[in-house]
């Protein structure tokens, strides 16, 4: 027990001082920030995809809304991009309600297919809108005017901003997980019919999870824009973006608090490494590797990497302990 606490403490300290450990190598600082940003997106997906079991493959819609809201605040209103973030979150919650009310009634694969179609729909529409810069996209401030533009040369400020957001998101997820809503979501995931028959208003809770998830995915999009300063339909609404969120969560463990972070810790370096090793052609091979990883997880590790470390139920009390969601977290 003590060793466990010690390891947790060491990890926490390492995360907090990471940018200072990598002062000499900006590449690693940037990598740290990218991992955290990806973890924000994947953790946001995890709320609806992991906990509620509604596998959205169209979360890029919300990421894109966040990114475009931020850049539109700059381009059309001359405001710092981050001012667009709360607007993007609100808009995303609204869009999630519009998409979610009809599609969340669909079960399983139908919901996934519908989210793919909606994602593609939004991507095509965004590329035809001149106000959003069409297929070329829009750029943020070229030079930082004030500190509020959140445009920094070093990756260190981004690292801490992303860390704070991720900590807040995971804290909130943890709180939900422990509370009434967490139990409801897990019940819905296990058997929606059973959950309904016990009085859980499944539709409403799925929608809450979807809207919450959308809000934070949108925030990830706004933060992306602040760091990269540019967005176009492919990088904002592309299906691969949606896929990455799903895959990171699934690799670590969907429906587990730290699952998406673990997935991001593995996949972001893989992606950066293959991009830098292979140059422009690397993007293709990166996704070949991605595809292979996904197939292997689905085939051999359907519950994700973290499931390897779970304490197995002992022979004396079979199955019961896995059915009780609280026991998995008891220290």
């Amino acid at each position: 027990m003590n060793a466990r606490r010690l390891i947790q403490l060491a990890l926490l300290v390492a995360v907090l001082i990471y940018p200072f450990l990598t002062l000499e190598s900006p590449v690693y600082q940037r990598l740290g920030a990218l991992v955290l940003l990806a973890a924000i997106g994947a953790s946001a997906w995890n709320i609806v995809g992991g906990y509620a079991g509604q596998v959205s493959v169209g979360h890029a819609v919300f990421f894109g809304i966040g990114a475009y809201s931020a850049v539109v605040a700059f381009v059309h209103a001359d405001l710092p991009p981050i001012v667009g973030a709360p607007l993007g979150m609100l808009l995303s919650v609204g869009v999630a309600a519009v998409i979610g009310v009809p599609t969340l009634r669909l079960s399983g694969h139908y919901f996934s297919m519908a989210t793919i179609a909606v994602g593609e729909l939004v991507r095509v529409l965004s590329s035809t809108s001149d106000w959003l810069g069409g297929a070329q996209g829009l750029g943020g401030p070229a030079m930082p005017r004030t500190v509020f533009d959140l445009s920094f040369m070093s990756a260190m400020p981004y690292y801490y901003i992303f860390l704070a957001v991720l900590a807040f998101l995971l804290g909130m997820t943890w709180w939900i997980e422990r509370g009434r809503m967490g139990f409801y979501l897990r019940a819905i995931k296990d058997s929606e019919r059973a959950a309904r028959s016990l009085g859980v208003s499944a539709g409403r809770y799925k929608l809450y999870a979807y809207m919450l998830s959308a809000a934070f995915t949108s925030l990830a999009g706004s933060l992306y824009l602040c760091m990269f300063g540019f967005i176009d339909p492919e990088s904002g609404f592309g299906i691969l973006l949606s896929v990455k969120m799903v895959v990171m969560a699934a690799l670590g463990g969907a429906g587990q608090l730290f699952g998406p972070l673990v997935g991001a810790l593995i996949l972001v370096p893989v992606e950066e490494l293959s991009n830098s090793l292979l140059g422009g052609e690397g993007a293709g091979i990166t996704f070949v590797v991605y595809g292979a990883i996904i197939v292997i997880i689905a085939r051999f590790l359907p519950a994700g990497l973290l499931s390897l470390f779970e304490r197995r139920p002992t022979a004396e009390k079979p199955a019961v302990s896995t059915a009780n969601p609280a026991s998995g977290h008891a220290d």
């Binding site: 995809g49 079991g53 596998v55 493959v57 009809p102 599609t103 669909l106 399983g108 694969h109 139908y110 996934s112 297919m113 519908a114 793919i116 179609a117 909606v118 593609e120 729909l121 095509v124 529409l125 035809t128 299906i239 896929v243 799903v246 895959v247 699934a250 969907a254 052609e281 293709g284 091979i285 990166t286 996704f287 070949v288 991605y290 595809g291 292979a292 990883i293 996904i294 197939v295 292997i296 997880i297 689905a298 085939r299 359907p302 519950a303």
Partner: protein
């Protein structure tokens, strides 16, 4: 205007027949084992590349590439079934979706790696020149694709409804355990379904390649077209897929003609969402 509209509808129907063909594979797999193949469009894409390779390497037209693509992609389907699908079918839903989605990415970017990102086209006159009947212009390649698409889809329907192997497949899809007690091997029937679906996508791909750009990412759009068709026709119904495919083809060419080519996908995706919303069992499916 009137004649042009007829022209648009006719080319929509011809394209739609090919949509019917590859979508019938998706609906067959769904009907047999409740699995959505998210790599379905990418199977078609590989059929298209098969046609391109058969032409560039051997100088063979669709007469050569259609059978080759049918055999190759059928094999791919059967291999996918035994190595992947058979195992993920029993797993959680996330694993099912991820499994075939991962396969899709693997195939799509594998093709990008091997063939490059540039579009490939086959020569325009590979399937003979266009001809005019009753004021309507017919392109050889599209007519061939439409007729073969229609014929093979009907053949598939015939196999499933009128032959003993079709009855055995139906038995497995109704109740695999009961079928097994009757001496039918469910896995063999399911593998056969993946083989038939693969053959259908391979043939469709080799046909589409004769009049359409072949690119690694074309499968993404084609997957969605297949989802729309299957959802509209009713999951599990080949005849439904046939009617829905023709309908989608017409809707697509009409919206490209009346609103603009950019919006044809927008209209089709919107139809999809509306169908899922109002009639998730499809036009011909049972409630």
């Amino acid at each position: 205007m009137g004649m042009t509209l007829v022209q648009v509808v006719v080319s929509g129907l011809l394209l739609g027949a090919v949509y019917s063909l590859f979508s019938s594979g998706l609906t067959l797999i769904w009907g047999m084992m409740n699995v959505v193949n998210f790599a379905h469009g990418d199977f078609v894409m590989l059929g298209m590349y098969t046609a391109v390779v058969v032409w560039t390497a051997l100088g063979g037209g669709p007469w050569a590439s259609v059978p080759v693509a049918a055999i190759l992609i059928a094999t791919l389907g059967i291999v996918s079934y035994f190595l992947l699908v058979r195992h993920i079918m029993r797993g959680p839903m996330l694993a099912q979706i991820l499994g075939t989605f991962g396969l899709a990415l693997f195939l799509r970017y594998g093709a990008l790696w091997i063939f490059g990102a540039n579009f490939k086209t086959l020569p325009d006159d590979l399937v003979g020149h266009s001809f005019i009947v009753g004021g309507i212009r017919f392109e050889g390649a599209r007519v061939l694709a439409g007729l073969v698409g229609l014929a093979v889809t009907l053949l598939l329907h015939f196999i499933l409804t009128r032959t003993s192997v079709g009855s055995r497949m139906l038995a497995v899809s109704e109740d695999a355990v009961a079928a097994q007690l009757m001496g039918i091997r469910p896995q063999r029937m399911q593998a056969l379904a993946w083989g038939l679906a693969g053959a259908a996508t391979g043939i469709a791909g080799a046909l589409i390649a004769t009049f359409f750009y072949t690119s690694p990412t074309v499968g993404e759009t084609l997957s969605i077209v297949a989802f729309v068709t299957v959802a509209l026709g009713g999951f599990g119904s080949v005849l439904g897929a046939l009617v829905a495919g023709l309908l989608i083809g017409v809707i697509e060419s009409l919206s490209a003609f009346l609103i603009g080519p950019v919006y044809k996908d927008v209209i089709v995706y919107t139809v999809f969402v509306l169908v899922l919303w109002f009639r998730p069992q499809g036009l011909m499916g049972k409630a």
